[in-house]
Amino acid sequence: MEWIRQKLDKFKKPFGKGEKLEKYAPAVNAIDTFLYTPNHTTQKGAHVRDAVDLKRVMITVVLSMIPVLIFGMWNTGYQYLSQIQAEVGFWEALGHGASKVVPMIVVSYAVGLGIEFAFAVMRGHEVNEGYLVTGLLIPMIMPVDIPLWMLAVSVVFAVLIGKEAFGGTGMNILNPALTARAFAFFAYPTFMSGNQVWVSEASNVDAVSGETILGSLAAGEQVNYSVMEMFMGYIPGSVAETPTLLILLCGLFLIFTKVGSWRIMLSAFIGAAVMALIFNALNIEGNELTNFPWYQHLLVGGLAFGIVYMATDPVSGAQTTRGKWIYGFLIGLFSIMIRIFNPAYPEGVMMAILLMNVFAPTIDHYVIQANVKRRKKRKEKGINPQIDTAV
C-alpha cells in the first residue's frame, strides 16, 4: 500500500505550502484524508487524542442510513410494480427503485459537494464532512418523481443560503436537508404534494394512484393500510421515510454509538404521542386526522425519519442536555399539531423541526441562564453552599 501513499505525496507536491497551487490544497486534502488519516501529531494541548474524528462520526450516520435507503429503493419499486401487476420480485422492485433513486443521490452529492469544495478553496479551510450526511438525506426525503433539476436547485439553495451564508458547517441555524425539502415544497408545490407524486410514475400512468396515508386522511378518506403495513413501511411516501421499524432500529444504532441523541429521540416521540392523545381525547367529528389513533400517528408520515435523522442534528438542534429534552418534546408536539390543524402541510414534522431549529438557541439561552443565575446567587450568599457533589 506504500506506493499509493508515495503517488499521493507526489501528486500533492504542487499543492504544498508556498507552491503554485496552494490555494486549491483543501480540495486535494479532502481526497487525501478520505484515503488516509493524516500523519498530523499533537503540537499543543493534550498529547494523545481520541480515535474519533468528524469523518468517523459522519460515516457512522451514513452507515445507519444505508438500510433505510435500500428499503426506500425497494419500496419505490414495490409501490409502483404492485399497482400495475400482481407479482413483484425483490430484485425487480429494487432495480426499479435504484434506477430512480441513484440518479437523485448522484445529483445531490455532485452539486452539494461541488459547492462545499468551492467554498473550502475560497475560504481556505478544509472540507467539512457534514455534507456526506446531508447529501444522502436530501434524496431520501424527496418524492421519487421530482425532476433532477429541481433537486439540484434545492440543494444549491440549502447549501448556499441554509449553510454557507451563515459561515459553513457548524454555524447553520436550520437543518440543511430540511431546508432543501422546504425550498422544494414551497417552490414547486405540484411536485411535492398532492396525490400524484408519492408513487413512481403516478402522474404518467393512469393505473397508478399515489396517495399518502396522511394525504387521504386530510382529504377525509378512509385508510386502507393495516397497522403492520404502516409499521413496516409498505406504504407510499417520500423515498425512504416509510419504514418506521427499520428507522427505529437504525436509531438504536445511532444511540448505541452515542452519535445520535437519545434524549431528543425519546422526548420527540413522547411529545408526538402526547399531542396525538390529546386530539384523540377531544374526539372532534369530521376530522379524520384528529381521530386517527395516536399510535398510528407515530407510524405514518415522516415523523420517525425526521426525529431520528433530522431532529438529532447537533448543529441545528439544542446543545444543552436539558435543552435537548425540551427541544425534542416540542418537535413531537408541533409535528402532530401542524399535521392535524393544517391539512395543506400533512407532513408536519418538517415544519416542526425547522421551527424548533430556529428556537433551539433560545431554549439553550434559558437553560444556560439558569446556570448563570445559580452562580450569581452563590456569590451573593457568600457562604459555602452545599452544592450537589454527585456530578
Partner: protein, 447 residues
C-alpha cells in the same frame, strides 16, 4: 466526616507503561535549568549574570510585577547560560552544578509557633513561594493577596501520573510541617483531598480539612475539587500547592534550606527503567531517560497536560511525571472507518475499544483526524465534572466576550480541567489553549 466527594463524569484512560513502585536516586545531572515559561504570566527580571557562583537557594530572578516572588537556584554551582528565545524572552536559565550542594541557610522554624508574617516571609525569601499557585487564572500566587482557602490535592488520576501517596511515603513529616505552614497563610481552611484508597498516613494529617475524593479523572484536579468544596466566586482568591511542594515547604522549615526535591515517575510505553526517581527540580532529562530516538516524544508531565521537551532539555518545574510515548507521525489508511483501529482508545462508541475497559493501551501522539468545525454536542459535558457549560465557555473565550466568560464560570477553571476535552472532542479543538488565552484576557482586562 461527610467530606466525601463523588465524581461521576470523567474518563480514566488506561495506558501501557506504568512506573514500577520502586524509588531510586537519580544520577546527579551536570546541568540544571529553571525555565521561566513554566511560570505563566511571570516576567522574569534577572539579578545575576552568566558566570555567577550560586548556592542552592540563591536568588536568580524575580517576577517583574511581584518582586516578592523570588526564583532561586535549586542547586549550587555556576550560572552557565541564559537561553533566550524570540523577542529575547528568557527560555532557560542553565546552572552548571557543583558535585556537592552548598545551601544558603534560611534558618529553622516551627511554623505553628512563629509569627504568621515571618512564615510567609521565609517561604518567599527562599524561593518556595513559587510552589504556591493561585486560582483563578492558574498562575503563581501573589503574596500580597490573602486567599480564602488553600487546596492541596494529595492524589492522582491522570494516566500514568506519579502516585502521590508513594512519593510522599518517606516525607510525611515534611508534608505535615508544610501543611502547618500553609495554615498560617490563610484565614480560611487548608483543604487536603485524598483518594478513596489512601492509607492512614494521609488520613491522619493534622490541622487541615481532609476530603475523600473518588471517581474517574479529572477527580484529582485541584480545580474540580475546589468547585465541589468551596467554589471560587468573582473576586475570590484561593491558593493551590502541589503535594510534593508542600513537603518541600515543610523541609524548608525543618532544615532551613530551600528544598527543591522532585520525585518523578518515569512512565509510558516507550520508557525503559520505569521507576520513581528522586531528583532535583530542573534536572536534565537525559540523565533519566538515557538515549532516546526521534520517534519518541518526551513529555514532562502527564500525557494530557505535560510539556513536550526534547532529550537533553530539563524537567519542568511542577510535574511529578515524565512520560515517553511513541510519536504518531504515520498515515493510517481508511482511518475514518468506524469500528476499525480498535487499538486506539476512544470515548466514543465509533470504535470497539469500549468493549475492553481494562485493556492498557499503547497510544501515540497522532491527532487521529484534523481540526473541524464544532459539530458534535454533549461529548464535552461527559468528561467535565463541574456545574459549568464547557462548550459555551470555550465559545465565549474564543469570542473574547468577558461578561459571558465571567457568567459561565471562567474563574473556576484552569487549562488542565479542559485536558480531557482536548482528548475527547471530535473536532480536535485545542481547548486548553483556548482557556489559557481566555484566562490571559481576564488577567489583562480584570486582573
Amino acid at each position: 466526616m461527610s467530606n466525601d466527594i463523588r465524581i461521576k463524569r470523567g474518563l480514566t484512560l488506561r495506558l501501557k507503561g506504568e512506573a514500577e513502585k520502586t524509588l531510586v536516586d537519580a544520577p546527579r545531572s551536570k546541568t540544571f535549568a529553571i525555565k521561566p515559561p513554566d511560570f505563566h504570566s511571570v516576567i522574569p527580571k534577572m539579578i545575576v549574570k552568566e558566570g555567577a557562583t550560586l548556592q542552592a537557594g540563591d536568588e536568580i530572578f524575580f517576577s517583574k510585577y511581584a518582586p516578592e516572588v523570588r526564583f532561586t537556584s535549586p542547586v549550587s554551582g555556576t550560572l552557565k547560560e541564559i537561553k533566550r528565545g524570540a523577542k529575547r524572552r528568557i527560555m532557560e536559565v542553565i546552572i552548571e552544578a557543583d558535585a556537592q550542594d552548598t545551601f544558603r541557610d534560611f534558618g529553622k522554624m516551627d511554623p505553628l509557633s512563629g509569627d504568621a508574617e515571618a512564615v510567609k516571609e521565609k517561604i518567599y525569601a527562599s524561593g518556595s513561594g513559587v510552589f504556591i499557585k493561585q486560582r483563578p487564572y492558574d498562575i503563581v500566587a501573589d503574596p500580597k493577596d490573602s486567599p480564602k482557602a488553600i487546596f492541596v490535592s494529595a492524589m492522582n488520576t491522570a494516566p500514568l501520573s506519579g502516585d502521590v501517596e508513594f512519593i510522599l511515603k518517606d516525607r510525611m513529616q515534611a508534608f505535615q510541617v508544610g501543611l502547618n505552614a500553609l495554615t498560617r497563610l490563610t484565614a480560611g481552611k487548608v483543604h487536603v483531598s485524598i483518594a478513596k484508597d489512601a492509607g492512614s498516613d494521609l488520613r491522619n494529617l493534622q490541622n487541615v480539612e481532609i476530603h475523600q475524593v473518588s471517581g474517574p479523572h479529572p477527580a484529582a484536579n485541584v480545580g474540580v475539587q475546589i468547585h465541589h468544596i468551596d467554589p471560587i466566586n468573582q473576586g475570590d482568591r484561593v491558593w493551590t500547592v502541589g503535594p510534593e511542594d508542600v513537603a518541600n515547604i515543610g523541609d524548608l522549615f525543618l532544615t532551613g534550606n530551600f528544598s527543591p526535591i522532585r520525585t518523578v515517575a518515569l512512565a509510558g510505553s516507550s520508557a525503559e527503567n520505569r521507576k520513581y526517581y528522586r531528583t532535583v527540580i530542573g534536572a536534565n532529562v537525559a540523565d533519566l531517560v538515557g538515549t532516546v530516538n526521534n520517534d519518541i516524544r518526551i513529555i514532562s508531565g502527564d500525557v494530557f497536560t505535560g510539556d513536550k521537551i526534547s532529550n537533553g532539555q530539563y524537567l519542568s518545574f511542577y510535574p511529578n511525571t515524565l512520560t515517553l510515548i511513541p510519536e504518531g507521525n504515520k498515515y493510517r489508511m481508511f482511518g475514518w472507518l468506524p469500528f476499525t483501529y480498535n487499538n486506539i482508545p476512544s470515548n466514543s462508541r465509533t470504535s470497539l475499544s469500549w468493549l475492553f475497559p481494562n485493556k492498557e493501551y499503547e497510544v501515540n501522539t497522532n491527532l487521529n483526524g484534523e481540526d473541524r468545525a464544532l459539530v458534535v454536542t454533549g461529548e464535552m459535558e461527559e468528561v467535565f465534572p463541574m456545574d459549568i457549560f464547557p462548550m459555551q465557555l470555550l465559545k465565549a473565550c474564543m469570542a473574547g466576550d468577558i461578561e459571558k466568560m465571567e457568567n459561565l464560570g471562567i474563574y473556576e477553571v484552569a487549562p488542565e480541567d479542559f485536558a480531557l476535552i482536548d482528548y475527547v472532542n471530535t473536532s480536535k479543538l485545542e481547548a486548553q489553549e483556548i482557556i489559557r488565552l481566555g484566562l490571559d484576557l481576564m488577567i489583562t482586562e480584570v486582573g
